[in-house]
Structure formats: C-alpha cells, structure tokens
C-alpha cells in the first residue's frame, strides 16, 4: 500500500537526521585543529593530531585492552548461559521454575542500571565476607556482572529464533534414533547459529559499552574504557575522545557493511543452488 500524506516520511527523514547529526559532528570535529573542539580552525584543519595523541595515550589504550578482554569473556559466557536459557524457555513447554527463569531473564533488560550495579556490588561484598571470595573487586567481578546482564539479551534472541522454527525437525531426528547430543549438534545448533552469532555480538557490544554497572563492581586499577572516557568528558569536551569515537563508529560501520555484503552473497548462492537443483530435476 502506498503511504498517503507526507507527514510520516518527513518525520522519518528528520528522525534519521536527529539520530546521525551528533555522530557526524563528532567525526568532523575529530579532524579539527582547535582545542576548543566545536570552533572550527579552518587554516590548520583537517589534521590527524588527535589521532596521534590517542595512539600515545597509554591510559586509554590500556583501558581499551582491558575492555576488550572483559567483553570477549563476558560475551562468550553470556552466549552459553543465554543459549541454555533460550532453549529451555522455547522447547521445554511448562516445567517447574519456568516462570522464575522467564522473569529473571527479561527483568535485567529494563532494570535501571544503578540498581543492578548496586545489588551486584553488595552481593560480591557479602560473598567475600562469607567465603573469602572474590578477593576485592576488579576484572573478575566486572566479568561476572557483565555475563549476568548480557545473557538476558542472548536468551531473548535465541528464544525467538527457536520459536520461529517448529520442533518437527528435531522430533523427526529423535524418531529416527538420534541421541539428544546428536540432535543438538546436527539440527538445533545449525538452526540457532545465526541467533547465537548475533547474540554474541550484541553481548560483546553491551559489555564493551557498559559504564554504570561496571563503575559499581570495578576496583582501583580496573578502569574500563567507558570509565576512562566518562571521567574525561564529565569535565568538558576533549578532542581525542572525538577521534576515539570516530574510530569506533568506523569499525562498527565497516563490520556491518561486510556482514551485509556477505549475507547477500550467501543468499544469492543459495538461490542459484535452488535453481540448479530445480533444473536438474526437470
């Protein structure tokens, strides 16, 4: 159906402009020579000096490295737990504890982060009092906290993918005598692999980006990249952060572009295979 009226399309364009102007302004001003960030220093710009400054900023590089390691472990842990929870919720029908599990996997998505952060820190402190572990807060407690809030998102992604497929394939394999592990490896896993992949990427991004929960469960010497950025920008704009933002936007954009092209290619190849198979059957 064709849209009547121009109101909605115009709002769409304005909304997209609204979404992208801040990002574009960061990119533009990352090449600005002036320290004043938003005042364009025409004669001396564009310049790469903030990128050079960034490459020499040990604090930011160290924090980025810590954030990457935490995000890698957190995303992987969250994928394992989230896949288990998603399978249980999508495939097991009603079981004891189902309502509890369903509630605990959706609540973290909307829960205000300050509350999650506070409760996790108080938990870790109480745990240390009780059993002497974890010894203080740091990378370990950050990772445990990240796994917990990231797995909720993975659960939702995996669950909706599994619900989209009916269970008949798995049932057929069972009827043909496949063992549960075989069914999972041969049928369920390939079906949900795209969901697992996007769940992992989502979890990685959420962990890499999280500030509020991390601030609660981080200790001295375990400052992640968002914590370093926050302490810098809290007291005003700094040009090297613009450069950092530009690099991150470029990485994400090229990653998405590559995956889109790759998916198009696979789709085309699949269509061609189907056509070839159909032709062979004629």
């Amino acid at each position: 159906m064709k849209t009547r009226g121009l109101f909605a399309p115009v709002m769409l364009v304005l909304g997209l402009v609204f979404l992208y102007i801040p990002i574009l302004s960061m990119i533009v001003f990352s090449f600005n020579n002036s320290r004043l960030v938003t005042v364009w220093d025409g004669p001396h710009s564009p310049t790469l000096k903030w990128y050079v400054a960034l490459a020499h900023n040990e604090q930011i590089l160290g924090a980025a490295w810590l954030s990457i390691r935490i995000a890698l472990v957190s995303a992987s842990g969250a994928v394992v737990l989230g896949t288990l929870a998603g399978m249980a919720l999508a495939r097991f029908g009603t079981f004891r504890g189902r309502v509890l599990l369903a509630g605990m996997t959706t609540a973290p998505i909307v829960m205000p982060e300050v509350i999650t952060g506070l409760s996790l820190l108080l938990f870790f402190v109480a745990l240390e009092q009780l059993i002497g572990w974890p010894r203080g807060v740091g990378a370990v407690t950050i990772t445990l906290a990240h796994i917990t809030f990231c797995m909720a998102y993975v659960t939702v992604v995996v669950q909706s993918r599994l619900i989209g497929f009916d269970a008949s394939l798995e049932e057929a394999a069972m009827d043909l005598g496949a063992r549960p592990v075989q069914v999972f490896m041969r049928i369920t896993l390939p079906l949900i692999l795209p969901a697992i992949a996007s769940g992992w990427l989502l979890a990685f991004t959420l962990s890499w980006d999280d500030l509020v929960i991390t601030q609660f469960v981080a200790g001295p010497g375990s400052s992640t990249l968002p914590m370093v950025i926050f302490s810098k920008v809290r007291f005003g704009v700094t040009p090297d952060v613009n450069a950092l933002a530009t690099i991150m936007v470029m990485l994400v954009a090229s990653g998405i572009a590559i995956s889109t092209v790759w998916m198009r290619y696979r789709q085309k190849r699949r269509e061609r295979d189907v056509q070839l198979a159909a032709a062979a059957n004629l």
Binding site: T3, Y20, I23, G97, I115, S119, T205, V212, Q215, I229
Partner: protein, 297 residues
C-alpha cells in the same frame, strides 16, 4: 516435546536458573536487607542483621534509612523529578517514533531493511560517546549556538546545556530505537485491507488512522513506552553529562549516596523505593514480552 532425557533437561534449565538466582535475585535480597540496617564505621559499613547476646540471636531491624528518605525533601523531589523526566521523554519518543515506525512499515521491502539498519546502527556504537556528542552540540559555544548566531536568529548564545531540555534530548535520542522497533513489528503486521475497506466506505485518512491503525498498534505503543520509561527513571549518565546541577535524578542520588557519602543503607533504601515504583511497569513489560513470544509461535 520430549527433547532430552529428564536429567539433561534439568541441567539445561538448571544452570542458567542457578546463575540468575545467585547473581540477580540474591543480590536484590541483600539490597533489601541492607536497607534495614544503620550505617556504621566498619567493614562492611552497616550494622549486622543478627547479633549474639549471651548465645541467643537478636535481630536488628532499623527503619532509619527509610524515615530519612521521607523527611529530607531532596529525595522526594528527586523521585518526582525522575518520574516527570521519564514520562515527558517517553511521550516525545512516542510522538517522534510512531510516525517513523509507520513510515518504515509502509515503505517497500528493499527500503525497509536499509531503514531498519539505520535505526539500529547507532545502538551498536557507544552510548556514552553519543551522549557526549550532545555536549559539543548544546554548549554555549557549541554547534547549535554557533549556527544560530551565524544565521542571526539569536544575538546571545542560548543556555541549552544543563537544562531539562538537554536531558529530554539526550533520553529521546538514546532510547528512540527502543520505541521504534516494537512499534515497527506491530505496524508491519497491520492488516492493510482494513484501511482500504475504511477508505472505500468513505473514512478520511485521519479517521481511519484513529479508528483502525492506532488501536491495532496499542501493544507496540505499550511495549515501546515501557522499554523507554523504566530505564529512563533510573538514568544516570544522561542527566550527569547534560542535566541540571541543582536538581538531580534519583539514579544520581543513589550513586552519590553510595560513592560520595558511603551510606550503604540509604543507597539501598533508595534502590528499593525505585523498585517499588517500577515493579508494576516491569511486570507489565514481562507479560507483554511473554505474549509477544507466544503469539509468534
């Protein structure tokens, strides 16, 4: 469906359940329990729940953290201010997001995936950095003021940063995708033959919209609004970077009580009261989420 033998099933459901019980539910019980303690100079800095007097346990329950919250007007005004900011931001998200979702749902298939990608793309880049970008746009010698001065619209820079306006912009900007996506998935399923029938029967577009489109997308409106409202009440980063310094939101108050005043019982009591306000919206959201998943079966 019998998917795996009982033992395997118990393990698959059991592992994530135990993890979340330990790291999601138990932590809340601890917050609840500490909110009934008093602050003291020790490690940990709150009074224990049980003390032993001559071999018999004595329970110590203090309500002082809560009575403190209700006697100091700072806390009550922060609660009300947070609810107001979250409500106004949710409304603006809806007013901007609805036509956007509608336009995407009504566009051709080729455009649709591109437009959806453009909506989701900012979400993959750092939230913190996108909020930070607004400082550069809104401040006194920022981009917006410079452009307006250059065009001669204004003669003195407007104070945009550290205002309610800046917080609304920040929240609407950050949470807009969360409003658009549920609305889109609802509007996409809209039965267009109903609209055509209404048009054939002589209904004008506005009337058809109010009587058909709007009621049918009600579930999307509720889901999107809850996804924006609930986290916005406890928002910390946006008001800290863009907002007023004379009126704090409750998420900031909680964080300050904990980090600046080191008053764990009061910080816990603040968290419990926020949860009590949000428990109904959160349960509503969970019910909608469950229905949505069951409907897609």
């Amino acid at each position: 469906m019998r998917f795996t033998p009982a033992g395997g099933r118990r393990l698959i459901a059991g592992i994530p359940t135990v993890w979340l019980l330990l790291l999601f539910l138990v932590p809340f019980l601890i917050v609840f329990r500490i909110s009934f303690s008093e602050v003291r100079l020790a490690i940990p800095p709150y009074t224990p729940l049980i003390t032993w007097h001559h071999g018999s346990p004595q329970f110590e329950v203090h309500g002082s953290a809560y009575s403190f919250l209700f006697t100091d007007p700072l806390y009550i005004s922060s609660y009300l201010y947070s609810l107001k900011v979250a409500a106004v931001s949710t409304l603006f998200c809806l007013l901007i997001g609805y036509p956007m979702a509608y336009a995407i749902a009504r566009s051709g298939a080729a455009w649709r995936s591109l437009l959806l990608m453009l909506i989701v793309l900012p979400f993959w880049t750092s939230f913190l950095l996108r909020v930070y970008a607004w400082i550069g746009l809104l401040k006194n010698n920022g981009v917006i003021n410079n452009v307006l001065l250059y065009l001669g619209v204004i003669h003195h820079p407007l104070a945009l940063l550290q205002t309610d306006f800046a917080v609304y912009i920040g929240i609407v900007y950050s949470y807009l995708p969360f409003m658009i996506l549920p609305l889109y998935s609802n509007l996409e399923k809209l039965d267009v033959t109903l609209l055509e029938a209404a048009a054939d029967l002589g209904a004008r577009p506005l009337r058809a919209f109010l009587r058909i489109t709007l009621p049918q997308s009600f579930a999307g409106i509720v889901a999107g609004s809850l996804l924006v409202f609930i986290p916005a009440v406890g928002e910390y980063v946006i008001p800290t970077l863009l907002g007023r310094t004379d009126q704090l939101m409750i998420g900031r108050v909680l964080s300050d009580e904990f980090f600046e005043n080191r008053d764990w019982p009061v910080a816990s009591a603040v968290a419990i009261l926020v949860l009590m306000i949000l428990v109904i919206p959160i349960m509503l959201f969970q019910r909608m989420e469950r229905r949505e998943l069951e409907a897609s079966k």
